[in-house]
């Protein structure tokens, strides 16, 4: 039996209760499980960031319940415990680093937990090692590249020994290289530490590698499945303003033009399928 990490039960969230037509999340129910890499997709304003913030009690549901590791986020006494277990990384790398030196920033979380110095030092070392930023530990954050800053932010969450990472479009402001660095770091964490990853993104190429994809539209969950299952519904996706990954699009175009190719999700798969089709 898979362990449940996050559970949304009929969650509705409204930023302004006087204007219910502006409800950001409507009657949302789903569960996420330990060790899974889940991507949340959706066009602008579909409520992805709101869902992310509901995960660790930054926002509390207007109705319904959010449970993280069995704890109700609406109970104030649970807040600390939840935030320790569910770490969060945001979109803008400049606005989430607190300290003027990388290692001090990573130490910020453990300091807040009131841990003894030796413990903090050990955690900082380990967290920086996991994201491959050890050699930058004495650097100033504002001199790092976007990808490096985001890895420092991830290290900051790891230093709290977080078991689940929720990332809200962490790669949106990065160049392709930075994006790759961050994605590699995330997959490594999932592989080596079994960390549960919830990645909000609008890059389809990031979603294809996930274990599970949730698609949101207008505050509601409209698809849920493996990348292959979800991307099979290209018409429904384009109806809500999302495109299928490029390799899949190419494969389908080729098939329409008489080349026998199955659905593929990544460029490598496409190359392989193309090769198979002609040999």
């Amino acid at each position: 039996m898979k362990n449940e990490v996050l559970r949304f039960d009929n969650v509705t969230f409204c930023y302004d209760t006087e204007r219910p037509e502006h409800t950001a999340v409507r009657d949302l129910s789903f569960s996420l499980y330990e060790g899974e890499f889940t991507c949340i997709l959706g066009h602008n304003g579909s409520g992805k960031s709101t869902v992310a913030k509901l995960c660790n009690a930054l926002l509390l549901p207007t109705s319904g319940t959010v449970t993280a590791y069995g704890l109700d986020t609406a109970v104030e006494a649970n807040e600390n415990e939840i935030r320790r277990n569910v770490g969060m990384v945001f979109q803008n790398p400049d606005n989430q680093l607190v300290a003027t030196i990388v290692e001090d920033d990573v130490a910020f979380g453990p300091e807040n937990l009131g841990l003894p110095r030796e413990e903090i030092a050990a955690r900082v070392d380990e967290a920086l090692r996991l994201v491959g930023m050890t050699e930058f530990r004495k650097h100033e954050p504002h001199r790092l590249s976007g990808g490096q800053k985001q890895r420092v932010a991830i290290a900051g969450a790891l230093a709290m020994q977080t078991r689940c990472l929720v990332l809200d479009e962490p790669t949106a402001m990065l160049d392709p290289q930075g994006r790759q660095e961050v994605m590699e770091a995330l997959f490594k964490l999932k592989r080596e530490l079994g960390i549960t990853v919830v990645l909000v993104t609008h890059f389809m190429s990031e979603a294809v590698a996930a274990d599970r994809v949730l698609v949101m539209n207008d505050g509601k969950l409209c698809m849920d499945g493996t990348p292959r299952e979800v991307f099979a519904h290209s018409e429904e996706l384009s109806a809500i303003g999302l495109a299928v990954p490029k390799p899949l699009e190419i494969a389908r175009t080729l098939r329409q033009n008489g080349i026998p190719i199955d659905d593929v999700l990544t460029a490598d798969e496409l190359a392989q399928a193309f090769y198979n089709a002609f040999t």
Partner: protein, 270 residues
């Protein structure tokens, strides 16, 4: 443009002064400032200059660096001299042009004031040049920690300083970006009278302000996510007094004693 300012910046290096404890440096800087005002005659003033230069050299920073940061002070120094020359009318005249004479007291006063200003700036610049802002904040936090008994929240104050220091470079980048963006739209910051120039800054500072508030709100979320409550924090960085601090303390003590002796041995000029 704004990047060229060296006052308050930190220049990492390996030196005696860099390796000292930030608290010791802060306290000794304050001590030096007091001693600056103890110098009463030319001998002690000379000793002050010599000691300051010695300390600066022991930091292994380039002399050019401090000269650059002293340059903006030049108008202030010149103004001081002019004021002294015009208003000090005691002592013996050394130079007379028509009805106007320059008195020797004016020159001596000018010398003292200028040297004191220069030493103050060198000493305090040296503190920030050789101490990382984080260390300095820590030092202030520890030194002010007795105030906790008066229910003053020193920890939060130090946190505010750290965040301000962290965001200065970010905001400077942002100003650069906004300036270029407005220039690209044809804004002109260099010509016109004072009012026009101030007006031309509005399109930079209003967006800057808006984005700073946005940043603050995102940063607050990020801090909450990392369990910041402002209470019960421990500290990752250790501060330890070492032999260098003892040596420096001794040096400053000996120097202070020397200045006092010189004051007693030779007649005060002021």
């Amino acid at each position: 443009m704004i990047r060229d300012i060296s006052i308050g910046r930190y220049f990492p290096a390996k030196s005696f002064v860099h390796a000292m404890d930030a608290r010791a440096k802060l306290l000794l800087t304050l001590a030096m400032i007091v001693v600056t005002f103890l110098c009463k005659n030319l001998y002690s003033l000379a000793a002050l200059c010599a000691f300051t230069i010695l300390v600066y050299l022991s930091s292994r920073l380039k002399p050019l660096l401090i000269l650059k940061s002293l340059k903006p002070l030049l108008p202030l120094l010149i103004l001081t001299v002019i004021m002294q020359v015009i208003f000090t009318k005691t002592g013996t005249p050394v130079l007379t042009v028509g009805k106007f004479s320059v008195y020797d007291d004016a020159l001596i006063m000018s010398l003292f004031v200028c040297v004191r200003i220069l030493v103050l700036i060198v000493v305090s610049s040296l503190l920030t040049y050789t101490t990382s802002p984080t260390r300095l904040t820590d030092a202030i936090e520890r030194l002010l920690s007795p105030l906790k008994h008066l229910k003053i929240d020193v920890g939060t104050f130090a946190m505010m300083m750290t965040i301000a220091l962290r965001f200065i470079p970010t905001l400077i980048d942002e100003i650069d970006r906004l300036t270029s963006a407005q220039k690209a739209r044809g804004a002109d910051f260099e010509s016109g009278n004072l009012i026009q120039r101030v007006k031309s800054l509005f399109p930079i500072f209003i967006p800057l302000f808006v984005s700073a508030i946005q940043r603050a709100s995102e940063l607050a979320d990020a801090m909450i996510c990392r369990c910041y409550t402002g209470e019960g924090r421990t500290s990752y960085r250790v501060m330890k007094f070492g032999w260098r601090d003892a040596v420096a303390l001794l040096a400053v003590a000996v120097f202070t004693g020397g200045v006092i002796t010189l004051n007693v041995l030779f007649a005060p000029l002021l």
